[in-house]
């Protein structure tokens, strides 16, 4: 297959970037999207050019490194996958594919398609944990957790921190990301004690770091490679309101 690629190139955080067009022939449908870029990079390097910088690591949709905005959608046209799981069979021979980095004030571009997502870690540092010291944990089975609660907590916990929710949101809101963690930990008895404090601290940090507010468009939910539900945002709102009432 042959593709016309329009890729955002930017030397570093300070430089202006722009789109560069590449014509790539000889792509096979079995390639993953990232393997297609590997292939492009091989031709670029061999032709004496600099390869396109992009993030990737596990290449099986779990590490959350990959972060490409493809033809107007984070992680490309298919639902419930990360970019690394996208296959070239999803595109038609001769297609034009526009590849951009995540765009958000809180995710500055570092080079080409690489953005800095450390803001997510900062939000986590604000309260995305249960304050239990090593060694202080009680016997694991001393606290039963209903299967429903455990399963729902798991459904929130599978967030891979890729940032597609922010990239998709018209307001660059990190609500789904924050909600997934607050929801997970507030569903579990172990994490309940700190829920109010956690919800407040994480939301304040999110606001402070320049993420927008949620207007419930559900773009994040649809683009989330793990399909994390808006219902977790509702739970975060609830916990936050309760925290507000108590303060």
């Amino acid at each position: 297959m042959e593709f016309n690629l329009k890729i955002w190139r930017q030397k570093d955080a300070r430089s202006q970037g722009g789109f560069i067009d590449y014509n790539l022939k000889g792509v096979s449908g079995e390639m993953s999207f990232l393997e297609m870029i590997d292939y492009l990079n091989k031709t670029l390097i061999e032709g004496g050019e600099e390869p396109v910088a992009f993030e990737h690591d596990c290449r099986e949709g779990i590490c959350g490194s990959c972060s490409l905005y493809i033809n107007g959608r984070p992680h490309g046209p298919e639902d419930l996958i990360a970019t690394c799981e996208l296959r070239m069979t999803r595109f038609k021979d001769g297609d034009t594919i526009v590849i951009e980095p995540w765009r958000a004030k809180s995710f500055p571009v570092l080079k080409d398609l690489i953005v800095d997502r450390y803001a997510f870690d900062k939000i986590m540092q604000a309260g995305g944990f249960i304050s239990v010291n090593t060694g202080a944990a009680p016997e694991a089975n001393s606290i039963p957790v209903s299967k429903e609660a455990a399963d729902e907590a798991y459904d929130a916990a599978i967030c891979i921190g890729c940032g597609a929710c922010v990239a998709a949101c018209k307001n660059s809101s990190a609500m789904l990301f924050v909600a997934a963690k607050v929801s997970q930990l507030s569903l579990l008895p172990q994490g309940k004690a700190e829920t109010a404090k956690r919800a407040r601290a994480m939301v304040e940090k999110m606001d402070e770091l320049g993420f927008g507010s949620c207007t419930n468009t559900t773009a994040c939910e649809t683009e989330c490679p793990k399909g994390i539900s808006m219902a977790h945002i509702a739970r975060l709102n609830r916990e936050f309101l309760l925290a507000g009432l108590k303060s």
């Binding site: 905005y69 033809n71 107007g72 765009r103 004030k105 606001d207 219902a231 975060l236 709102n237 936050f240």
Partner: protein
Amino acid sequence: MSSFINASIGKKFLVSISGLFLISFLAVHLFVNLFLLGGQESYNLIAHFMATDYVISVMEPMLAIGFLLHIIYSSYLTITNQSTRPHKYKIVDQSDTTSWASRNMFVLGGLVLIFLVIHLSNFWFQMQFGEMEYIEYGGVMVQDAYSLVTAKFTIWWQVLLYVAAAGFLGLHLLHGFQSAFLTLGLYNKIWRQRLMVIGILYTIVITAGFSLIPLYFLIAHYTT
């Protein structure tokens, strides 16, 4: 409490609460409008009741505050949200992933607001400050609001305006209704579907009600 309002979720809470308040006002408003179909006397009497009842007179400034809160905080959030993505995408494809209404709530709200100004000057302003005819019902002098309203509804472009506004309002509600519940946390996987259905039904009733009444008078005007 100040930290609550300073947070994005706190502001959204005010938008939702005021939104739900305005949503409930719409139902009352439509209920009153239905009296138009009952003829001059029935409408004038209910209009008179609305203008003089103690509870309603308390609710009136509340309504104004509701509008103000809704407009101020949603504007504030919209404006701050504008700055979160200084570098825009070349292509954005959300046609399959989000509803048009959800992406354009501010525009829809603005259109409804413009209509609201016209609507208020058409009726509310007239009734408060304008020259009104009075009719006596059982010894009580009552403003002839019926004639004022039905006269407007015989002008085709006024009716068009009302129908269009009802449409914009409907789109605004379509997202706003369930969104308000989500923001308040009154929402989960089961209620999500229910709220969606209730929201759609409510929107249909409001939109149909507010657009059919002017159309009824316009058609009546041209057919009799």
